[in-house]
Protein backbone atom coordinates (compact mmCIF):
# COMPACT_ATOMS: atom_id res chain seq x y z
CA UNK A 1 0.00 0.00 0.00
CA UNK A 2 1.59 3.24 -1.10
CA UNK A 3 1.48 6.00 1.41
CA UNK A 4 0.38 8.73 -0.89
CA UNK A 5 -0.47 11.43 1.57
CA UNK A 6 3.05 11.26 2.88
CA UNK A 7 4.16 13.04 -0.28
CA UNK A 8 1.47 15.64 -0.68
CA UNK A 9 1.89 18.30 -3.27
CA UNK A 10 -1.29 19.95 -2.01
CA UNK A 11 -0.10 22.93 -0.02
CA UNK A 12 -2.18 23.63 3.04
CA UNK A 13 -4.48 26.62 2.74
CA UNK A 14 -6.21 28.41 5.59
CA UNK A 15 -9.64 27.20 6.68
CA UNK A 16 -12.65 29.29 5.83
CA UNK A 17 -15.78 29.30 7.98
CA UNK A 18 -19.04 31.03 7.21
CA UNK A 19 -22.29 31.55 9.01
CA UNK A 20 -24.98 30.56 6.50
CA UNK A 21 -27.78 33.09 5.98
CA UNK A 22 -31.12 32.17 7.37
CA UNK A 23 -33.15 31.77 4.25
CA UNK A 24 -36.41 30.21 5.26
CA UNK A 25 -37.82 30.76 1.84
CA UNK A 26 -35.75 31.58 -1.17
CA UNK A 27 -37.81 33.12 -3.88
CA UNK A 28 -37.41 32.75 -7.58
CA UNK A 29 -34.16 34.10 -8.85
CA UNK A 30 -34.99 34.99 -12.39
CA UNK A 31 -32.70 35.47 -15.29
CA UNK A 32 -34.03 38.09 -17.67
CA UNK A 33 -35.20 36.58 -20.93
CA UNK A 34 -35.51 38.66 -24.08
CA UNK A 35 -39.01 39.23 -25.43
CA UNK A 36 -38.42 37.33 -28.65
CA UNK A 37 -36.59 34.56 -26.91
CA UNK A 38 -39.53 34.34 -24.53
CA UNK A 39 -42.13 34.19 -27.25
CA UNK A 40 -40.08 31.70 -29.17
CA UNK A 41 -39.91 29.52 -26.09
CA UNK A 42 -43.65 28.89 -26.32
CA UNK A 43 -44.19 25.62 -28.08
CA UNK A 44 -47.47 26.72 -29.61
CA UNK A 45 -45.80 29.73 -31.20
CA UNK A 46 -43.00 27.69 -32.72
CA UNK A 47 -45.41 25.11 -34.05
CA UNK A 48 -47.62 27.82 -35.50
CA UNK A 49 -44.54 29.16 -37.27
CA UNK A 50 -43.84 25.70 -38.65
CA UNK A 51 -47.40 25.52 -39.91
CA UNK A 52 -47.23 28.93 -41.51
CA UNK A 53 -43.99 27.94 -43.18
CA UNK A 54 -45.53 24.78 -44.55
CA UNK A 55 -48.54 26.71 -45.76
CA UNK A 56 -46.36 29.18 -47.62
CA UNK A 57 -44.35 26.36 -49.15
CA UNK A 58 -47.54 24.72 -50.34
CA UNK A 59 -48.88 27.90 -51.91
CA UNK A 60 -45.63 28.77 -53.62
CA UNK A 61 -45.02 25.27 -54.95
CA UNK A 62 -48.58 24.92 -56.23
CA UNK A 63 -48.42 28.26 -58.01
CA UNK A 64 -45.08 27.48 -59.52
CA UNK A 65 -46.40 24.10 -60.64
CA UNK A 66 -49.50 25.68 -62.15
CA UNK A 67 -51.39 22.40 -62.34
CA UNK A 68 -54.45 22.95 -60.17
CA UNK A 69 -56.02 19.73 -61.38
CA UNK A 70 -53.28 17.69 -59.80
CA UNK A 71 -52.08 19.95 -57.02
CA UNK A 72 -54.22 22.95 -56.16
CA UNK A 73 -52.83 25.86 -54.22
CA UNK A 74 -53.53 26.42 -50.54
CA UNK A 75 -55.74 29.39 -51.31
CA UNK A 76 -57.88 27.39 -53.74
CA UNK A 77 -58.10 24.62 -51.20
CA UNK A 78 -59.04 27.03 -48.45
CA UNK A 79 -61.80 28.58 -50.49
CA UNK A 80 -63.20 25.17 -51.36
CA UNK A 81 -62.85 24.26 -47.71
CA UNK A 82 -64.63 27.36 -46.56
CA UNK A 83 -67.46 26.85 -49.00
CA UNK A 84 -68.15 23.31 -47.84
CA UNK A 85 -67.64 24.26 -44.23
CA UNK A 86 -70.27 26.96 -44.39
CA UNK A 87 -72.63 24.78 -46.38
CA UNK A 88 -72.37 22.26 -43.55
CA UNK A 89 -71.33 19.46 -45.86
CA UNK A 90 -67.80 19.12 -44.53
CA UNK A 91 -68.70 19.38 -40.85
CA UNK A 92 -71.34 16.73 -41.42
CA UNK A 93 -68.93 14.41 -43.18
CA UNK A 94 -66.26 14.98 -40.54
CA UNK A 95 -68.70 14.34 -37.72
CA UNK A 96 -69.93 11.17 -39.33
CA UNK A 97 -66.37 9.92 -39.84
CA UNK A 98 -65.31 10.89 -36.34
CA UNK A 99 -68.16 8.93 -34.81
CA UNK A 100 -67.22 5.72 -36.59
CA UNK A 101 -63.57 6.37 -35.92
CA UNK A 102 -64.01 6.79 -32.20
CA UNK A 103 -66.05 3.62 -31.93
CA UNK A 104 -63.41 1.65 -33.81
CA UNK A 105 -60.53 3.25 -31.94
CA UNK A 106 -62.17 2.70 -28.58
CA UNK A 107 -62.95 -0.93 -29.35
CA UNK A 108 -59.39 -1.53 -30.49
CA UNK A 109 -57.98 -0.03 -27.30
CA UNK A 110 -60.18 -2.19 -25.12
CA UNK A 111 -59.26 -5.30 -27.09
CA UNK A 112 -55.58 -4.51 -27.00
CA UNK A 113 -55.78 -3.94 -23.24
CA UNK A 114 -57.24 -7.42 -22.90
CA UNK A 115 -54.69 -8.99 -25.24
CA UNK A 116 -51.63 -7.38 -23.71
CA UNK A 117 -52.83 -8.18 -20.21
CA UNK A 118 -53.16 -11.80 -21.22
CA UNK A 119 -49.82 -11.68 -22.97
CA UNK A 120 -47.98 -10.26 -20.00
CA UNK A 121 -49.63 -12.61 -17.52
CA UNK A 122 -49.24 -15.96 -19.27
CA UNK A 123 -46.64 -17.50 -21.51
CA UNK A 124 -49.16 -18.82 -23.98
CA UNK A 125 -50.67 -15.32 -24.08
CA UNK A 126 -47.30 -13.97 -25.15
CA UNK A 127 -47.07 -16.54 -27.90
CA UNK A 128 -50.59 -15.82 -29.06
CA UNK A 129 -50.00 -12.09 -29.20
CA UNK A 130 -46.65 -12.42 -30.94
CA UNK A 131 -47.98 -14.89 -33.49
CA UNK A 132 -51.26 -13.11 -34.18
CA UNK A 133 -49.51 -9.79 -34.56
CA UNK A 134 -46.91 -11.18 -36.92
CA UNK A 135 -49.65 -12.84 -38.96
CA UNK A 136 -52.39 -10.28 -39.12
CA UNK A 137 -50.62 -6.97 -38.82
CA UNK A 138 -49.26 -7.04 -42.39
CA UNK A 139 -52.63 -8.04 -43.86
CA UNK A 140 -54.31 -5.25 -45.79
CA UNK A 141 -57.93 -4.40 -45.19
CA UNK A 142 -59.11 -6.30 -48.27
CA UNK A 143 -58.09 -9.51 -46.57
CA UNK A 144 -60.41 -8.65 -43.74
CA UNK A 145 -63.23 -7.56 -46.00
CA UNK A 146 -64.87 -10.92 -46.67
CA UNK A 147 -64.96 -11.72 -42.99
CA UNK A 148 -66.24 -8.26 -42.18
CA UNK A 149 -69.06 -8.65 -44.68
CA UNK A 150 -69.86 -12.15 -43.50
CA UNK A 151 -69.96 -11.23 -39.85
CA UNK A 152 -71.22 -7.69 -39.85
CA UNK A 153 -72.78 -7.06 -43.24
CA UNK A 154 -72.67 -3.63 -44.77
CA UNK A 155 -72.43 -0.49 -42.74
CA UNK A 156 -70.74 0.97 -39.74
CA UNK A 157 -69.92 -2.27 -37.96
CA UNK A 158 -67.84 -3.47 -40.87
CA UNK A 159 -65.89 -0.24 -41.00
CA UNK A 160 -65.41 -0.45 -37.25
CA UNK A 161 -64.11 -3.97 -37.69
CA UNK A 162 -61.58 -2.90 -40.27
CA UNK A 163 -60.47 0.04 -38.12
CA UNK A 164 -60.05 -2.28 -35.16
CA UNK A 165 -57.84 -4.48 -37.31
CA UNK A 166 -55.63 -1.59 -38.25
CA UNK A 167 -55.33 -0.14 -34.74
CA UNK A 168 -55.26 -3.23 -32.58
CA UNK A 169 -51.92 -4.71 -33.55
CA UNK A 170 -49.97 -1.48 -33.52
CA UNK A 171 -51.29 -0.47 -30.11
CA UNK A 172 -50.79 -3.96 -28.70
CA UNK A 173 -47.26 -4.22 -29.99
CA UNK A 174 -46.26 -0.91 -28.48
CA UNK A 175 -48.05 -1.55 -25.21
CA UNK A 176 -46.51 -4.96 -24.84
CA UNK A 177 -43.04 -3.65 -25.62
CA UNK A 178 -43.63 -0.98 -23.01
CA UNK A 179 -44.68 -3.59 -20.47
CA UNK A 180 -41.56 -5.63 -21.10
CA UNK A 181 -39.36 -2.58 -20.65
CA UNK A 182 -40.68 -1.75 -17.20
CA UNK A 183 -37.81 -1.83 -14.73
CA UNK A 184 -37.41 -5.09 -12.89
CA UNK A 185 -37.31 -3.22 -9.58
CA UNK A 186 -40.62 -1.45 -10.14
CA UNK A 187 -42.19 -4.69 -11.18
CA UNK A 188 -40.86 -6.40 -8.06
CA UNK A 189 -42.04 -3.53 -5.88
CA UNK A 190 -45.52 -3.98 -7.27
CA UNK A 191 -45.54 -7.72 -6.77
CA UNK A 192 -44.21 -7.16 -3.28
CA UNK A 193 -47.46 -5.35 -2.42
CA UNK A 194 -49.37 -8.42 -3.50
CA UNK A 195 -50.23 -7.11 -6.94
CA UNK A 196 -50.48 -9.69 -9.69
CA UNK A 197 -52.25 -10.30 -12.95
CA UNK A 198 -54.69 -7.56 -13.82
CA UNK A 199 -53.90 -5.45 -10.78
CA UNK A 200 -50.20 -5.46 -11.58
CA UNK A 201 -51.04 -4.35 -15.11
CA UNK A 202 -53.31 -1.53 -13.98
CA UNK A 203 -51.31 -0.18 -11.07
CA UNK A 204 -47.75 -0.75 -12.24
CA UNK A 205 -47.29 -1.72 -15.86
CA UNK A 206 -49.65 0.74 -17.52
CA UNK A 207 -48.34 3.86 -15.79
CA UNK A 208 -44.74 2.68 -16.01
CA UNK A 209 -45.08 1.92 -19.72
CA UNK A 210 -47.08 5.02 -20.46
CA UNK A 211 -44.65 6.66 -22.91
CA UNK A 212 -44.73 3.57 -25.13
CA UNK A 213 -48.47 3.22 -24.79
CA UNK A 214 -48.99 6.83 -25.76
CA UNK A 215 -46.81 6.45 -28.83
CA UNK A 216 -48.85 3.39 -29.76
CA UNK A 217 -52.07 5.33 -29.29
CA UNK A 218 -50.80 8.11 -31.53
CA UNK A 219 -49.82 5.68 -34.27
CA UNK A 220 -53.10 3.85 -33.84
CA UNK A 221 -55.03 7.07 -34.12
CA UNK A 222 -53.33 7.97 -37.37
CA UNK A 223 -53.85 4.54 -38.86
CA UNK A 224 -57.47 4.55 -37.81
CA UNK A 225 -57.92 7.64 -39.97
CA UNK A 226 -56.15 6.15 -42.91
CA UNK A 227 -58.16 3.00 -42.73
CA UNK A 228 -61.41 4.79 -42.20
CA UNK A 229 -60.99 6.87 -45.31
CA UNK A 230 -60.04 3.87 -47.40
CA UNK A 231 -62.81 1.74 -45.91
CA UNK A 232 -65.51 4.29 -46.52
CA UNK A 233 -64.84 3.94 -50.20
CA UNK A 234 -65.08 0.20 -50.19
CA UNK A 235 -68.10 -0.08 -47.99
CA UNK A 236 -69.77 2.78 -49.71
CA UNK A 237 -72.69 4.82 -48.53
CA UNK A 238 -76.38 4.97 -48.76
CA UNK A 239 -78.26 8.22 -48.49
CA UNK A 240 -76.56 11.09 -46.72
CA UNK A 241 -74.52 9.33 -44.07
CA UNK A 242 -71.34 9.83 -46.07
CA UNK A 243 -68.11 10.50 -44.20
CA UNK A 244 -64.92 12.26 -45.17
CA UNK A 245 -63.69 9.31 -47.20
CA UNK A 246 -66.69 9.35 -49.45
CA UNK A 247 -66.55 13.15 -49.62
CA UNK A 248 -63.01 12.91 -50.95
CA UNK A 249 -63.92 10.08 -53.33
CA UNK A 250 -66.82 11.97 -54.83
CA UNK A 251 -64.79 15.11 -55.27
CA UNK A 252 -62.12 13.05 -56.95
CA UNK A 253 -64.62 11.51 -59.30
CA UNK A 254 -65.89 14.94 -60.14
CA UNK A 255 -62.32 16.08 -60.78
CA UNK A 256 -62.76 18.76 -58.13
CA UNK A 257 -59.22 18.55 -56.89
CA UNK A 258 -59.49 21.59 -54.63
CA UNK A 259 -62.38 19.90 -52.87
CA UNK A 260 -60.35 16.70 -52.51
CA UNK A 261 -57.67 18.73 -50.82
CA UNK A 262 -60.26 20.47 -48.68
CA UNK A 263 -61.23 17.04 -47.40
CA UNK A 264 -57.61 16.15 -46.76
CA UNK A 265 -57.07 19.51 -45.09
CA UNK A 266 -59.89 18.65 -42.73
CA UNK A 267 -58.15 15.40 -41.87
CA UNK A 268 -54.94 17.33 -41.26
CA UNK A 269 -56.67 19.91 -39.11
CA UNK A 270 -58.34 17.24 -37.02
CA UNK A 271 -54.98 15.50 -36.70
CA UNK A 272 -53.31 18.70 -35.54
CA UNK A 273 -56.09 19.44 -33.10
CA UNK A 274 -55.98 15.97 -31.59
CA UNK A 275 -52.19 16.05 -31.32
CA UNK A 276 -52.08 19.62 -30.04
CA UNK A 277 -54.96 19.38 -27.61
CA UNK A 278 -55.67 15.80 -26.64
CA UNK A 279 -52.30 14.10 -26.80
CA UNK A 280 -50.29 17.06 -25.58
CA UNK A 281 -52.55 17.52 -22.57
CA UNK A 282 -52.28 13.85 -21.74
CA UNK A 283 -48.53 14.07 -22.05
CA UNK A 284 -48.34 17.16 -19.89
CA UNK A 285 -50.54 15.59 -17.22
CA UNK A 286 -48.66 12.31 -17.21
CA UNK A 287 -45.24 11.49 -18.53
CA UNK A 288 -43.92 15.03 -18.56
CA UNK A 289 -45.14 15.68 -15.02
CA UNK A 290 -43.70 12.36 -13.88
CA UNK A 291 -40.30 13.11 -15.36
CA UNK A 292 -40.52 10.17 -17.73
CA UNK A 293 -39.72 12.28 -20.74
CA UNK A 294 -36.20 13.60 -20.69
CA UNK A 295 -35.18 16.10 -23.21
Amino acid sequence: MTDVTATPRNLPRPDIEREPEDISRIGEISRPIGLWEGIFAITAVRRALVLIGLGIAWEVYARWLGNPLMFPSLSDTLSAWWEDMSSGRLPGAAASSLRVLLIGYGTAIVLSAVMTTLAVSTRIGTDLLATLTAMFNPLPAIAILPLALLWFGLGTSSIVFVIVHSVLWAVSLNTFTGFLSVSQTQRMAGRNYGLGGLRLVIFILIPAAFPSILAGLKIGWAFAWRTLIAAELVFGVSGNAAGLGWYIFEARNALETATVFAGLLTVILIGLAVEGIVFRSIEAATIRKWGMQNH
Binding site: M70, P146, L149, L154, V234, W246, E250, N253
Partner: protein, 307 residues
Protein backbone atom coordinates in the same frame (compact mmCIF):
# COMPACT_ATOMS: atom_id res chain seq x y z
CA UNK B 1 -90.93 -5.92 -44.57
CA UNK B 2 -88.28 -7.32 -46.87
CA UNK B 3 -85.37 -5.06 -47.62
CA UNK B 4 -83.61 -5.47 -50.92
CA UNK B 5 -80.28 -3.75 -51.42
CA UNK B 6 -78.97 -2.77 -54.84
CA UNK B 7 -75.29 -1.93 -55.01
CA UNK B 8 -73.82 0.29 -57.68
CA UNK B 9 -70.76 2.35 -58.45
CA UNK B 10 -70.32 5.85 -59.69
CA UNK B 11 -70.75 6.40 -63.43
CA UNK B 12 -73.29 7.49 -65.96
CA UNK B 13 -73.83 3.86 -66.95
CA UNK B 14 -75.83 3.31 -63.81
CA UNK B 15 -78.18 6.18 -64.54
CA UNK B 16 -81.27 3.92 -64.79
CA UNK B 17 -80.79 2.88 -61.16
CA UNK B 18 -80.32 6.47 -60.07
CA UNK B 19 -83.41 7.58 -61.90
CA UNK B 20 -85.53 4.68 -60.71
CA UNK B 21 -84.43 5.35 -57.16
CA UNK B 22 -85.02 9.08 -57.37
CA UNK B 23 -88.45 8.73 -58.91
CA UNK B 24 -89.52 5.98 -56.54
CA UNK B 25 -90.03 3.58 -59.42
CA UNK B 26 -88.68 0.59 -57.53
CA UNK B 27 -91.30 0.77 -54.82
CA UNK B 28 -94.17 1.16 -57.21
CA UNK B 29 -93.01 -1.50 -59.62
CA UNK B 30 -92.31 -4.03 -56.91
CA UNK B 31 -95.69 -3.42 -55.40
CA UNK B 32 -97.31 -3.81 -58.78
CA UNK B 33 -95.43 -7.07 -59.24
CA UNK B 34 -96.95 -8.41 -56.04
CA UNK B 35 -94.51 -7.69 -53.25
CA UNK B 36 -96.09 -4.69 -51.58
CA UNK B 37 -94.06 -4.36 -48.35
CA UNK B 38 -90.66 -4.48 -50.00
CA UNK B 39 -88.18 -1.72 -49.44
CA UNK B 40 -85.52 -1.21 -52.09
CA UNK B 41 -82.32 0.49 -50.94
CA UNK B 42 -79.57 1.70 -53.23
CA UNK B 43 -75.99 1.77 -51.98
CA UNK B 44 -72.88 3.08 -53.63
CA UNK B 45 -69.53 1.34 -53.61
CA UNK B 46 -66.21 2.40 -55.05
CA UNK B 47 -65.16 -0.86 -56.63
CA UNK B 48 -66.41 -4.02 -58.32
CA UNK B 49 -64.84 -6.62 -56.00
CA UNK B 50 -66.82 -5.25 -53.05
CA UNK B 51 -70.00 -5.78 -55.03
CA UNK B 52 -69.10 -9.41 -55.66
CA UNK B 53 -68.35 -9.89 -51.98
CA UNK B 54 -71.66 -8.28 -51.14
CA UNK B 55 -73.60 -10.67 -53.38
CA UNK B 56 -71.74 -13.73 -52.10
CA UNK B 57 -72.25 -12.81 -48.47
CA UNK B 58 -75.90 -11.91 -49.16
CA UNK B 59 -75.41 -8.44 -47.70
CA UNK B 60 -76.69 -7.08 -50.99
CA UNK B 61 -79.16 -8.79 -53.28
CA UNK B 62 -78.50 -7.07 -56.58
CA UNK B 63 -75.27 -5.60 -57.90
CA UNK B 64 -74.54 -3.45 -60.87
CA UNK B 65 -71.50 -4.60 -62.83
CA UNK B 66 -69.90 -4.63 -66.23
CA UNK B 67 -70.63 -7.36 -68.74
CA UNK B 68 -67.25 -9.11 -68.39
CA UNK B 69 -67.54 -9.00 -64.62
CA UNK B 70 -70.95 -10.68 -64.79
CA UNK B 71 -69.59 -13.36 -67.12
CA UNK B 72 -66.77 -14.17 -64.72
CA UNK B 73 -69.16 -14.31 -61.78
CA UNK B 74 -71.54 -16.47 -63.79
CA UNK B 75 -68.81 -18.97 -64.59
CA UNK B 76 -67.46 -19.12 -61.07
CA UNK B 77 -70.81 -19.48 -59.34
CA UNK B 78 -72.41 -22.00 -61.64
CA UNK B 79 -74.10 -24.59 -59.47
CA UNK B 80 -73.65 -22.59 -56.29
CA UNK B 81 -74.89 -19.03 -56.34
CA UNK B 82 -75.87 -18.97 -59.98
CA UNK B 83 -75.14 -15.33 -60.48
CA UNK B 84 -76.64 -14.08 -63.74
CA UNK B 85 -77.74 -10.87 -65.26
CA UNK B 86 -81.17 -9.69 -64.25
CA UNK B 87 -81.47 -6.77 -66.59
CA UNK B 88 -79.09 -4.72 -68.75
CA UNK B 89 -78.80 -1.07 -67.80
CA UNK B 90 -77.00 0.71 -70.58
CA UNK B 91 -74.98 0.45 -73.72
CA UNK B 92 -72.42 3.02 -72.84
CA UNK B 93 -69.73 4.26 -75.13
CA UNK B 94 -66.01 3.83 -74.51
CA UNK B 95 -63.41 5.90 -76.31
CA UNK B 96 -59.67 5.35 -76.37
CA UNK B 97 -57.86 8.69 -76.14
CA UNK B 98 -54.22 9.40 -76.70
CA UNK B 99 -51.91 12.34 -76.32
CA UNK B 100 -49.60 11.07 -79.09
CA UNK B 101 -50.47 12.87 -82.29
CA UNK B 102 -48.89 10.15 -84.42
CA UNK B 103 -51.12 7.38 -83.08
CA UNK B 104 -53.97 6.75 -85.48
CA UNK B 105 -54.79 3.11 -84.68
CA UNK B 106 -54.00 0.93 -81.70
CA UNK B 107 -51.19 -0.61 -83.70
CA UNK B 108 -49.37 2.73 -83.63
CA UNK B 109 -48.85 2.71 -79.87
CA UNK B 110 -45.16 2.10 -79.23
CA UNK B 111 -44.06 -0.53 -76.73
CA UNK B 112 -43.28 2.17 -74.18
CA UNK B 113 -46.85 3.42 -74.09
CA UNK B 114 -48.88 3.27 -70.97
CA UNK B 115 -52.59 2.97 -71.50
CA UNK B 116 -54.88 3.41 -68.53
CA UNK B 117 -57.83 1.10 -67.98
CA UNK B 118 -59.58 0.72 -64.65
CA UNK B 119 -58.92 -2.98 -64.26
CA UNK B 120 -57.95 -5.89 -66.46
CA UNK B 121 -61.43 -7.42 -66.52
CA UNK B 122 -63.28 -4.25 -67.41
CA UNK B 123 -64.90 -3.80 -70.84
CA UNK B 124 -62.14 -1.31 -71.73
CA UNK B 125 -59.35 -3.79 -71.17
CA UNK B 126 -61.10 -6.39 -73.25
CA UNK B 127 -62.00 -3.93 -75.98
CA UNK B 128 -58.40 -2.80 -76.21
CA UNK B 129 -57.25 -6.36 -76.76
CA UNK B 130 -60.02 -6.96 -79.28
CA UNK B 131 -58.81 -3.94 -81.20
CA UNK B 132 -55.26 -5.21 -81.00
CA UNK B 133 -56.30 -8.56 -82.37
CA UNK B 134 -58.06 -6.88 -85.24
CA UNK B 135 -55.03 -4.81 -86.15
CA UNK B 136 -52.17 -7.16 -85.35
CA UNK B 137 -53.69 -10.62 -85.16
CA UNK B 138 -53.36 -13.03 -82.25
CA UNK B 139 -49.90 -11.75 -81.31
CA UNK B 140 -51.31 -8.29 -80.70
CA UNK B 141 -53.34 -9.50 -77.74
CA UNK B 142 -50.32 -10.20 -75.58
CA UNK B 143 -48.53 -7.06 -76.69
CA UNK B 144 -50.99 -4.87 -74.87
CA UNK B 145 -50.79 -6.85 -71.64
CA UNK B 146 -47.58 -5.06 -70.84
CA UNK B 147 -48.85 -1.64 -71.84
CA UNK B 148 -52.04 -1.55 -69.82
CA UNK B 149 -51.96 0.08 -66.41
CA UNK B 150 -54.78 0.05 -63.95
CA UNK B 151 -55.77 3.52 -62.83
CA UNK B 152 -59.07 4.81 -61.53
CA UNK B 153 -60.93 7.01 -64.02
CA UNK B 154 -60.44 10.33 -62.26
CA UNK B 155 -56.69 9.84 -61.93
CA UNK B 156 -56.32 8.81 -65.53
CA UNK B 157 -58.44 11.70 -66.72
CA UNK B 158 -56.50 14.17 -64.60
CA UNK B 159 -53.21 12.95 -65.94
CA UNK B 160 -54.35 13.09 -69.53
CA UNK B 161 -55.67 16.62 -69.19
CA UNK B 162 -52.76 17.99 -67.24
CA UNK B 163 -50.36 16.75 -69.89
CA UNK B 164 -48.46 14.44 -67.58
CA UNK B 165 -46.16 12.14 -69.48
CA UNK B 166 -46.91 9.17 -67.26
CA UNK B 167 -49.68 7.82 -69.44
CA UNK B 168 -50.30 8.48 -73.10
CA UNK B 169 -53.47 6.48 -73.58
CA UNK B 170 -56.70 6.20 -71.64
CA UNK B 171 -59.80 4.19 -72.42
CA UNK B 172 -62.44 6.53 -71.04
CA UNK B 173 -66.14 6.31 -70.48
CA UNK B 174 -68.71 8.95 -69.66
CA UNK B 175 -68.71 11.44 -68.05
CA UNK B 176 -64.93 11.60 -68.42
CA UNK B 177 -65.21 11.50 -72.21
CA UNK B 178 -66.87 14.89 -72.12
CA UNK B 179 -63.90 16.32 -70.26
CA UNK B 180 -61.32 14.80 -72.59
CA UNK B 181 -63.21 15.85 -75.66
CA UNK B 182 -62.76 19.47 -74.71
CA UNK B 183 -58.99 19.12 -74.69
CA UNK B 184 -57.40 19.90 -78.09
CA UNK B 185 -54.20 17.97 -77.31
CA UNK B 186 -56.04 14.67 -77.16
CA UNK B 187 -57.74 12.69 -79.86
CA UNK B 188 -59.78 9.51 -80.13
CA UNK B 189 -58.04 6.42 -81.48
CA UNK B 190 -60.99 4.10 -81.45
CA UNK B 191 -64.33 3.52 -79.73
CA UNK B 192 -66.30 0.55 -78.47
CA UNK B 193 -68.76 0.76 -81.32
CA UNK B 194 -65.95 0.71 -83.84
CA UNK B 195 -64.32 -2.31 -82.23
CA UNK B 196 -67.49 -4.36 -81.73
CA UNK B 197 -69.25 -3.05 -84.78
CA UNK B 198 -72.36 -2.22 -82.79
CA UNK B 199 -73.35 -0.85 -79.40
CA UNK B 200 -73.09 -3.43 -76.63
CA UNK B 201 -74.40 -3.80 -73.13
CA UNK B 202 -71.83 -2.22 -70.82
CA UNK B 203 -73.53 -2.21 -67.45
CA UNK B 204 -76.13 -4.59 -66.07
CA UNK B 205 -77.78 -5.56 -62.86
CA UNK B 206 -76.87 -9.04 -61.65
CA UNK B 207 -78.24 -11.18 -58.87
CA UNK B 208 -78.15 -14.70 -57.49
CA UNK B 209 -80.31 -17.63 -58.43
CA UNK B 210 -81.47 -17.91 -54.84
CA UNK B 211 -82.85 -14.41 -54.89
CA UNK B 212 -84.75 -14.88 -58.13
CA UNK B 213 -86.27 -18.15 -57.03
CA UNK B 214 -87.18 -16.87 -53.57
CA UNK B 215 -88.35 -13.44 -54.54
CA UNK B 216 -89.58 -13.73 -58.12
CA UNK B 217 -92.01 -10.88 -57.66
CA UNK B 218 -89.37 -8.46 -56.47
CA UNK B 219 -87.08 -9.49 -59.29
CA UNK B 220 -89.84 -8.86 -61.82
CA UNK B 221 -90.60 -5.53 -60.23
CA UNK B 222 -87.00 -4.39 -60.43
CA UNK B 223 -86.75 -5.33 -64.08
CA UNK B 224 -89.89 -3.34 -64.72
CA UNK B 225 -88.64 -0.35 -62.75
CA UNK B 226 -85.38 -0.26 -64.73
CA UNK B 227 -87.33 -0.43 -67.97
CA UNK B 228 -89.51 2.48 -66.83
CA UNK B 229 -86.44 4.45 -65.84
CA UNK B 230 -84.89 3.92 -69.25
CA UNK B 231 -88.04 5.10 -70.91
CA UNK B 232 -87.87 8.20 -68.76
CA UNK B 233 -84.21 8.78 -69.65
CA UNK B 234 -84.91 8.45 -73.33
CA UNK B 235 -87.93 10.69 -73.12
CA UNK B 236 -86.54 13.36 -70.82
CA UNK B 237 -82.74 13.34 -70.99
CA UNK B 238 -82.46 16.82 -69.50
CA UNK B 239 -84.46 15.89 -66.42
CA UNK B 240 -82.53 12.64 -66.10
CA UNK B 241 -79.37 14.74 -66.20
CA UNK B 242 -80.56 16.85 -63.30
CA UNK B 243 -81.27 13.72 -61.30
CA UNK B 244 -77.81 12.45 -62.13
CA UNK B 245 -76.09 15.61 -60.96
CA UNK B 246 -77.89 15.44 -57.63
CA UNK B 247 -76.49 11.98 -57.10
CA UNK B 248 -73.03 12.59 -58.51
CA UNK B 249 -71.86 16.17 -58.71
CA UNK B 250 -69.91 16.80 -61.90
CA UNK B 251 -68.85 20.02 -63.48
CA UNK B 252 -70.90 19.85 -66.69
CA UNK B 253 -73.26 22.24 -68.36
CA UNK B 254 -76.87 21.13 -68.70
CA UNK B 255 -76.59 20.96 -72.45
CA UNK B 256 -73.42 18.93 -72.43
CA UNK B 257 -75.01 16.59 -69.95
CA UNK B 258 -78.12 16.14 -72.04
CA UNK B 259 -76.01 15.52 -75.11
CA UNK B 260 -73.97 12.97 -73.24
CA UNK B 261 -77.05 11.09 -72.09
CA UNK B 262 -78.30 11.07 -75.64
CA UNK B 263 -74.97 9.78 -76.93
CA UNK B 264 -75.19 6.71 -74.74
CA UNK B 265 -77.70 4.06 -75.69
CA UNK B 266 -80.25 2.92 -73.13
CA UNK B 267 -81.77 -0.49 -73.54
CA UNK B 268 -82.77 -3.47 -71.41
CA UNK B 269 -82.06 -5.75 -74.30
CA UNK B 270 -78.72 -7.56 -73.94
CA UNK B 271 -76.28 -6.94 -76.76
CA UNK B 272 -72.76 -8.09 -77.35
CA UNK B 273 -72.81 -10.63 -74.54
CA UNK B 274 -71.60 -13.44 -76.75
CA UNK B 275 -69.04 -11.17 -78.41
CA UNK B 276 -67.48 -10.53 -75.03
CA UNK B 277 -67.85 -14.15 -73.93
CA UNK B 278 -66.20 -15.54 -77.03
CA UNK B 279 -63.26 -13.19 -76.82
CA UNK B 280 -62.85 -13.72 -73.08
CA UNK B 281 -62.72 -17.45 -73.68
CA UNK B 282 -60.04 -16.84 -76.28
CA UNK B 283 -57.86 -14.97 -73.84
CA UNK B 284 -58.57 -17.60 -71.15
CA UNK B 285 -60.47 -15.21 -68.98
CA UNK B 286 -63.34 -17.67 -69.20
CA UNK B 287 -62.63 -21.36 -69.17
CA UNK B 288 -66.18 -22.58 -69.77
CA UNK B 289 -67.87 -19.83 -71.75
CA UNK B 290 -71.64 -19.81 -72.19
CA UNK B 291 -72.89 -21.27 -75.44
CA UNK B 292 -75.87 -18.96 -75.63
CA UNK B 293 -76.28 -15.52 -74.12
CA UNK B 294 -79.58 -16.73 -72.60
CA UNK B 295 -77.59 -18.90 -70.16
CA UNK B 296 -76.29 -15.80 -68.50
CA UNK B 297 -79.57 -14.00 -67.86
CA UNK B 298 -82.62 -14.70 -65.79
CA UNK B 299 -86.10 -14.52 -67.15
CA UNK B 300 -87.79 -12.42 -68.37
CA UNK B 301 -84.76 -10.92 -70.13
CA UNK B 302 -83.48 -14.37 -71.12
CA UNK B 303 -86.77 -14.99 -72.87
CA UNK B 304 -86.45 -11.82 -74.91
CA UNK B 305 -84.19 -10.91 -77.76
CA UNK B 306 -80.49 -10.14 -77.64
CA UNK B 307 -77.06 -11.34 -78.73
Amino acid sequence: ATTVTIAMQNGIGYLPIIVADALGLFGKAVEAAGAPTTQVVVKKFSGAPAINDGLLSNTIQLGAMGTPGMLVAWEKTRGSYDIKGLTPLSMGRYSLYTSRPEVKTVADFPETSRIAVTALNTPQAILLRMAAEKQLGEAGIRRFDKMMVSLPHPDAATMMISGSATIDGYFANDPFITVLEANPKLHVVTTSEEILGHPATSGLLATTGKFVSEQPAIARGIVAAIAQAEDFIKAKPAEAGEIYLKSEPFNLSKDALTAMIRDNKWSTEPHGIMAYATFMAKIRMLKNPPTRWQDTFFAPIAAGTGD
